[in-house]
């Protein structure tokens, strides 16, 4: 049951760090080079990875779904519409969130942990620089910019890949794929809301795990890296489910 307590305390810490980071936000403009470095690391660093996994996801889903439907009703004309909706509202956001938390979560938490272990945080404070403003805030801003873009790229890639597979393997005409009949406005809202919450949660959770590290050198860095991945991907799941339930609750069926 102890892990439940640690989850709750993490949630509290996230809110506290968010508040502090928001306060430091205006200072981010003083260090544009940090912002650019983070954008490159979080954004462009994840691009190819997401590209590939989104494509795979699109292909796999179309494969599996088409095979199943073919067995029951050999009419694949509505597949595209359903596919687009599932990708937009659920699959792509979740995939993006998980992949970003895998890649960025461990990187941020181990970076922060090794900074704590080598006393870089103290050195920053002594050099009249607030670590939250200099280290944390740029990550948050970069994440807020990069994650939605990554999500959109993934969506485009996944849909395209699925479309191609549908056409080549199942002879489904691509035009049926660009059918937004089953995808409503609030699905896009869901998409955006999920990505934004991931963009906020992933860096903050990872930073917190980095700061929570002990001072035992390599051991602490490894521990922080591990917890960074685990906690950020867990919060991604929770946020994803929350938004999905909220969407369902607010707009009902379907």
């Amino acid at each position: 049951m102890r892990w439940l307590g640690s989850l709750v305390s993490s949630a509290v810490d996230i809110l506290a760090l968010l508040a502090e980071t928001l306060r430091s936000l205006k200072g981010v403009g003083r260090h544009p080079e940090r912002l650019l470095a983070e954008l490159s690391s979080i954004g462009t660093g994840s691009l190819i990875f997401l590209f590939a996994t989104a494509a795979f996801m699109g292909v796999i889903i179309v494969f599996q779904t088409a095979t199943q439907i073919n067995k029951a009703i050999p009419d694949l004309s509505m597949l595209g519409a359903g596919f687009i909706r599932v990708m937009t509202a659920e699959m792509i956001p979740l995939l993006t969130g998980l992949m970003v938390s895998a890649r960025v979560g461990s990187a941020i938490s181990s970076e922060v942990a090794s900074m704590v272990v080598t006393e870089q945080m103290d050195a920053l404070r002594l050099a009249n620089t607030d670590p939250t403003e200099y280290i944390v805030a740029p990550k948050l801003v970069a994440s807020l910019v990069a994650v939605p873009i990554l999500g959109l790229v993934s969506l485009a890639t996944g849909i395209t890949a699925g479309m191609l597979v549908g056409w080549i393997v199942f002879e489904i005409h691509p035009s049926t794929f660009l059918n937004f009949r089953y995808t409503y406005g609030y699905h896009f809202l869901s998409f955006c809301l999920k990505l934004l919450s991931f963009a906020v949660l992933i860096p903050l959770v990872s930073v917190i795990e980095g700061f929570r590290t002990g001072r035992q050198g390599a051991f602490s860095v490894g521990q922080a890296a591990t917890r960074g991945v685990i906690m950020s991907s867990f919060f991604v799941f929770v946020a994803d489910l929350s938004v999905s339930l909220l969407e369902r609750g607010l707009w009902g069926a379907p």
Partner: protein
């Protein structure tokens, strides 16, 4: 004729520092004047790093009076304590080298925060790079230089900042006696030139003994003079 005005750079009176139930410093007294080179030795875990960080205003005391450069550190006021810290320098036990910038950037970092112009920074850092023997490594990152170079860089960051109070946490750890002697000589020479107050912590009393004006031992949370 009046006595010359005393320039006290660090004053700790009855200072205690506890972490939860663990009391590390217990009613400690220390005064360091400008131009003094003081060494504090003691066993590992005796609290030397805590003492130094407290002097650097990075940790608040649990009780007692702390005066750094003549003022009580204004912990609550970001601007004010930043201004105070601009006049302090510390070499950390784990070096604290910034992984996100190169050797030049590490030396220049605190100077940019003080508000110096780029040309002035360059004028100060370039000669320092030569003195420290880091000239050719100026554009390499901390993870690309040797252990000895890292140490010199950490110490160099303090010297280049020209602080009024300089703190060194274990500056000669793992160095052979000859190099250790050279490093301490560099610090002492710098002290002669700038008149700063210098406080050095080390677990090895033999390494620092010859070089310092005063040698204190940290034991049971307090300082006492080293019995020769």
């Amino acid at each position: 004729m009046s006595a010359p005005t005393r320039d006290v750079r660090l004053k700790l009176a009855g200072v205690s520092k506890s972490f939860g139930a663990r009391r590390v410093l217990d009613g400690l007294d220390l005064v360091v004047d400008a131009g003094e080179l003081v060494a504090v030795t003691g066993q590992s875990g005796s609290g030397k790093s805590v003492l130094l960080k407290l002097a650097a205003t990075l940790l608040p005391a649990t009780s007692g009076r702390v005066e750094v450069l003549g003022v009580t550190p204004p912990y609550a006021d970001r601007e004010a304590i930043g201004a105070l810290r601009n006049r302090l320098g510390m070499q950390f036990q784990n070096l604290g080298l910034f992984a996100f910038t190169d050797v030049y950037g590490n030396l220049a970092f605190s100077l940019t925060k003080i508000g110096m112009r780029d040309e002035d920074i360059r004028a100060r850092v370039d000669p320092a790079l030569e003195t420290l023997g880091l000239g050719r490594a100026h554009d390499r990152f901390p993870d690309q230089i040797s252990g000895g170079m890292k140490r010199r860089l950490a110490i160099g960051r303090v010297l280049v900042k020209l602080p009024e109070l300089a703190l060194f946490d274990d500056p000669v750890a793992g160095l052979d006696p000859l190099t250790a002697e050279r490093v301490l000589g560099m610090i002492a020479a710098w002290r002669d030139e700038t008149g700063a107050a210098v406080l050095i912590a080390s677990p090895d009393p033999d390494a620092v003994r010859g070089r310092v004006d005063r040698h204190l031992v940290l034991e049971d949370g307090r300082l006492r003079p080293e019995a020769a």
